[in-house]
């Protein structure tokens, strides 16, 4: 069963609503110890990077998450800020350490052309979709999903292969990441109607096969 990490990230309800709508089996992990029972993990997130890391730490989620993902290799899906938290570090309001599952950093979106407004807010096309992508398999083109963010994940040189789709907003931004059993979406699949729900469905199917 999928455990949604409840570290007081504020869109937990939307994520739960979407999983419910596609008939997935899940529970909300209010307590870190409950992650031990999860066969897979969804890490939601909105808000600021450092606040969220502080909350994860304060509520005692860091150790159980590291155990579940690094040691037990449970499938994990990070959504929006939840994906950014999987990076090594973020430069949002200072420099902050992340969970370190993805080699790269989180940086501010700074388009050269001022006509591209930040936050990058709204529906946008997924581009450069990797044929090997698990999350995006059988997605209908053009795949349009809902983004809202001011920072983005930038892989370190040599680790670009984790990026399995991008989005364009004055510059090319990471839209999805996939590294073995670690997955992330910069956009909100739970708020992207059919396209988004298909992505969640793909993850749910994957977790069944890798339980």
């Amino acid at each position: 069963m999928i455990g949604i990490v409840n570290y007081q990230a504020n869109n937990l309800r939307s994520v739960a609503n979407a999983l419910k709508a596609i008939g997935a089996e899940f529970f909300i992990a209010d307590e870190p110890a409950r992650l031990a029972k999860a066969t897979a993990i969804v890490l939601p997130g909105v808000g600021a990077f450092s606040d969220s890391m502080t909350n994860l730490r304060r509520l005692g989620f860091i150790e159980p998450l590291q155990q579940a993902v690094r040691v037990e290799k449970k499938p994990v899906l990070g959504l929006c800020l939840g994906m950014q938290l999987m990076a090594e570090k973020s430069f949002e309001f200072g420099e902050h350490e992340g969970l370190g599952w993805l080699q790269g950093t989180v940086e501010k979106i700074e388009p050269n052309d001022q006509s591209f407004r930040v936050p990058h807010m709204g529906w946008n096309n997924l581009e450069h979709i990797s044929p090997a992508s698990m999350l995006l398999q059988s997605i209908v083109q053009p795949a349009v999903v809902y983004f809202v963010h001011s920072y983005y994940f930038k892989p370190v040189a040599g680790a670009e292969a984790v990026v399995t789709s991008t989005v364009s907003h004055g510059l090319t931004l990471t839209a999805t990441v996939e590294k073995d059993y670690i997955f992330g979406c910069q956009f909100h699949p739970e708020k992207s109607q059919q396209a988004g729900l298909l992505i969640l469905q793909n993850f749910v199917e994957y977790t069944k096969q890798h339980a």
Partner: protein
């Protein structure tokens, strides 16, 4: 490319949705749940739900409706009306709101925007500005459901709100509201130029060309309408069809499935 968004604004008053003309509520148009289902099906890009009740005494029912409708809303949902505390924002978000709309409190306590943005992120805080021309012919912000003059210009408020961490500005013309003569383009442009965050135009749509006008000529990142989407079949999809037809980059105006069909309830 980032798509231009079509937003349906739902005005919730004491349990039912209403239509509005210059902020006076004219008639009830039914329940919010039905509206959310239809607009989700008809290719809407986002829904804004505002509690425009005259008093906060219907809040419990509003929260109940929000919890129900957020379960079936798979496009972003922004919620506002009577939002004055961080606790209120936290509750709305926990009930399925993706963004929170702040209006009167943004003027009365600018620091509230800072605190809200720091706690929940800029992307979560929409500042809604209601404005009209005052007796001297200058644009002025009005708060408390358009009743009280705030003594500041909408472009000033937009700028200050952005500096304090608002992620989006929702600009409504009180005079144009419900008049069906189009958005107040001067007002849209004024606010658009004052800020670098996304701007949503609101108030006055009478035909689909008004939507295109605010995007093409006003530079709006998203366009919102309320009254015009009620009572007509496939309204929001037809609006999107039009926007696509005139060459605006929008998310495909197709029919989207309702995932949780409701069973009819018959009252005997």
């Amino acid at each position: 490319m980032l798509k231009k968004r079509l937003i349906s604004c739902l005005l919730w008053r004491e349990g039912t949705l209403v239509q509005s003309r210059q902020f006076q509520h004219t008639n009830s148009v039914g329940d919010a749940l039905t509206a959310v289902d239809f607009f989700n099906t008809w290719a809407i890009d986002e829904i804004v739900l505002l509690d425009v009740s005259r008093t906060p005494k219907h809040r419990a029912l509003f929260h109940e409706h929000l919890r129900e409708l957020s379960e079936r809303c798979f496009v972003p949902l922004a919620v506002g009306g009577w939002v004055t505390t961080l606790a209120e924002i936290r509750q709305l978000l926990s009930e399925g709101a993706d963004k929170v709309v702040v209006n009167t409190a943004a003027v009365r306590d600018p620091n509230f925007i800072t605190m809200a943005s720091e706690s929940f992120g800029a992307q979560c805080i929409v500042v809604s500005i209601d404005a009209k021309k005052n007796t001297t012919g200058e644009y002025e912000v009005f708060v408390n459901r358009g009743k009280d003059a705030a003594g500041m210009r909408p472009d000033q408020l937009a700028k200050v709100s952005e500096e304090r961490g608002a992620g989006e500005v929702f600009i409504t013309s009180i005079d144009h509201d419900g008049r069906q003569a189009g958005y107040d383009m001067e007002l849209v442009r004024l606010v658009r130029q004052a800020t670098s965050v996304p701007v949503v135009a609101s108030g006055g749509v009478g035909e689909w060309s008004h939507l295109a006008e605010a995007i093409i000529e006003g530079g709006a990142d998203a366009v919102s309408a309320a009254n015009i989407f009620h009572y007509s079949d496939q309204s929001t999809k037809k609006a999107k069809d039009y926007l696509k037809l005139v060459g605006i980059d929008v998310r495909e105006p197709e029919f989207y499935k309702i995932l949780l069909p409701r069973k009819p309830v018959y009252r005997v």
